[in-house]
């Protein structure tokens, strides 16, 4: 993608400076086109899928509606027109930012989704942070001397953990901490007390203090993310430790911790960053199953809820949001590689 910078032909000064001006924008424009096509495909696909799945008039009117009531509702919402006209109307509204209203509650669909978003971001952030805090030191320790017996044992355990699906971890956590020990609540989510961090007299940032309800969902999600991340960090560290530059540094008398922390780990983390990006993008789709098990009011839970009740506008808004977030996370990951990996930095810029 950045090759356009390297291969810019050496022309007259003027066109060259124009090229230099445009060149950094090319990847951005490419990404934006991708995003627009992506959102278009997602909404179009969903529109027809959802219409195939059910009749919105029936959802609105309920099962015991008379044919007259149904006809009235169809006329009111424009559902009596041909599907293609409905689709064009829908897309027209969408471009103006109108996602329609929830068939279940009547509130604007997008607003409803945006209200759900903080809970999902919270659990994703907590789980990711926990997973990273465990996986990187553990992976570095494992990869530093992978041949030793203790590390082989720990690697084996992590390998088994990798085979434990997230919802199984969640169920076992509930069994132990909520059912047997009665330490933690297993259902629902509370924001806890809000602590206002006053920056100035008039401006303060509300910071929710951790609540007990956060622990089980985020720990079981982190438990699910951690093994694969640890394995990637360990494998990359082990590989980096075999490189020539490590041998040179060792021959130069660098102590073990310098070899690991200064030379091997930064390279290993590069590979880990890619996986962290992928995992975070996955979490943006809402950790559907974890959220459902713990009745966590995030977008994953809402997705199941709305699709099962055929709440078309909310499903559309959810899918739009998820696609957008996944795109953002992927784009940020891709961009951050430019900063993290010196080899990718383009000359001249």
């Amino acid at each position: 993608m950045s090759s356009s910078v390297d291969t810019a032909p050496a022309g007259p000064e003027a066109s060259r400076s124009f090229e230099n001006l445009i060149a950094p924008l090319v990847p951005v424009l490419q990404q934006l086109t991708r995003l627009v096509v992506l959102l278009f495909m997602v909404t179009t696909l969903l529109f027809f899928m959802l219409r195939l799945a059910g009749d919105p008039a029936l959802v609105l009117a309920g099962n015991d509606a008379t044919p007259e009531q149904l006809a009235a509702i169809r006329a009111q919402y424009g559902l009596d027109k041909p599907l293609i006209i409905q689709y064009l109307n829908y897309m027209g509204n969408l471009i103006q930012g109108d996602f329609g209203r929830s068939l279940a509650s009547g509130e604007p669909a997008m607003e409803k989704v945006l209200n759900m978003l903080p809970a999902t971001l919270l659990i994703a952030g907590l789980a990711m942070a926990m997973s990273i805090c465990v996986a990187i030191p553990l992976g570095a320790w494992l990869g530093f001397r992978p041949e030793r017996a203790d590390r082989r044992g720990v690697s084996g355990i992590i390998f088994i953990f990798q085979g434990v699906p997230g919802f199984v971890t969640a169920l076992i956590c509930i069994q132990i901490f909520a059912v047997n020990l009665r330490w933690l609540p297993s259902l629902g989510m509370e924001w806890g007390t809000i602590f206002d961090w006053a920056i100035t007299e008039s401006f303060s940032i509300p910071i929710p203090l951790p609540s007990k309800t956060w622990i089980l969902p985020s720990v079981s999600l982190a438990w699910f993310l951690m093994p694969s991340l640890t394995r990637v960090v360990a494998a990359n560290t082990a590989e980096a430790m075999r490189e020539d530059y490590i041998r040179t540094a060792r021959a130069g008398g660098a102590p073990g911790h310098v070899l690991l922390l200064r030379h091997a780990l930064p390279n290993a983390l590069l590979g880990a960053a890619a996986l962290i990006g992928t995992q975070f993008a996955f979490l943006m789709g809402g950790a559907v199953i974890t959220e459902t098990i713990f009745s966590w009011p995030g977008i994953g839970w809402q997705l199941i809820e709305s699709t099962q009740t055929l709440d078309f506008p909310v499903v559309q808004a959810l899918a739009f949001c998820i696609a957008m977030l996944v795109f953002l996370v992927n784009a940020v990951t891709e961009l951050s590689f430019q900063f993290l990996d010196p080899r990718l930095r383009t000359k001249g810029s």
Partner: protein, 300 residues
């Protein structure tokens, strides 16, 4: 017995079965992990194929007088559930269901993913752009919505699950085939085949695809594990197997109400899922290390 299997897979990878077989070679490749992997794999396969003969009870028939029997008592190897049904037999039945579902979905994924990967890798152009955009969309698309829609329209069932998973989860194959085949299409032997007038499809499937075979075996194993998880997770949510069908996901869902009384109802299906997934991951690792060794052997 498991060692024979190792040599067979080694043979599959190298395409030189039989003539180079020797026990010293088997001993060379059979590290403990591979032996464990293929032992477990053999056990799983035996349960999947001959499960009908290994069940001790009818998985659907309960004895209400023997509800919540702990494991190992009154002839129930793994205990009984809330309706007095034998958990061992239900576990075996679930294994057959999940294995068949994951296997079929995996084959569909393999076919779609590698075909699209090859098409995208062949040459730059419209087709490549369209396929890449499709992959991109699928990654950002909440696939669960599609599944729920399909379930609403045609109802839950084995084939619903096989085809939705089969049609939606092929991205991993496409990406790997695309990445590896792109460089293979530049090789001289492909150019030569092209000049010799070999047809486009024949170049793709007979000349390039064999070059990525080793990677496909590895993904097949790992993806199988992933599909097992997906299948049980969806059944657990009530979107996969029909209610009442004793799949692992359904067993887990049933266990939720009886966690206090009968923790084994949770532990049996949970343990089965973990064992199956770990086995398939081990098999994937094993094949990967075998093919690495073979690659090194050829270079030397």
């Amino acid at each position: 017995m498991s060692e024979v299997k190792v040599s067979q897979v080694g043979g599959l990878l190298g395409g030189s079965e039989g003539k180079t077989f020797s026990w010293s070679k088997v001993r060379q490749v059979a590290n403990p992990e591979i032996v464990i992997a293929f032992t477990l794999f053999t056990v799983l396969m035996i349960l999947a194929v001959f499960g009908q003969f290994l069940m001790t009870h009818d998985p659907m028939q309960g004895d209400l007088l023997k509800r919540f029997t702990p494991p190992g008592q009154e002839g129930y190897i793994l205990g009984s559930d809330h309706l007095g049904r034998d958990l061992w037999s239900r576990m075996v039945e679930g294994l057959q269901w999940s294995m068949a579902c994951a296997l079929l979905a995996n084959i569909i994924n393999l076919a779609i993913g590698s075909t699209l990967g090859l098409l995208a890798a062949e040459k730059p152009g419209m087709l490549r752009t369209v396929i890449n955009q499709l992959v991109y969309t699928l990654q950002a698309f909440p696939a669960l919505v599609i599944l729920i829609c399909v379930v609403v329209v045609v109802g839950q069932g084995f084939w619903t699950l096989v085809f939705t998973l089969g049609l939606l989860a092929w991205v991993v194959y496409m990406r790997v085939v695309y990445a590896e085949a792109s460089s293979l299409f530049q090789r001289e032997y492909v150019q030569a085949a092209r000049l010799a007038g070999v047809s486009r499809w024949s170049i793709m499937f007979q000349h390039v695809l064999p070059g990525v075979r080793a990677s496909l075996f590895v993904i097949f194993a790992f993806h199988f594990a992933g599909l097992l998880i997906a299948e049980s997770a969806l059944s657990f949510l009530g979107l996969g197997a029909p209610l009442g069908e004793p799949t692992w996901g359904n067993l887990l869902a049933e266990s939720r109400q009886y966690m206090m009384r009968a923790p084994w109802m949770l532990l049996v299906p949970a343990g089965s899922i973990v064992t199956a997934v770990v086995t398939m991951n081990l098999v994937g690792d094993g094949i990967a290390s075998l093919s690495r060794k073979q690659g090194r052997g050829m270079e030397a």
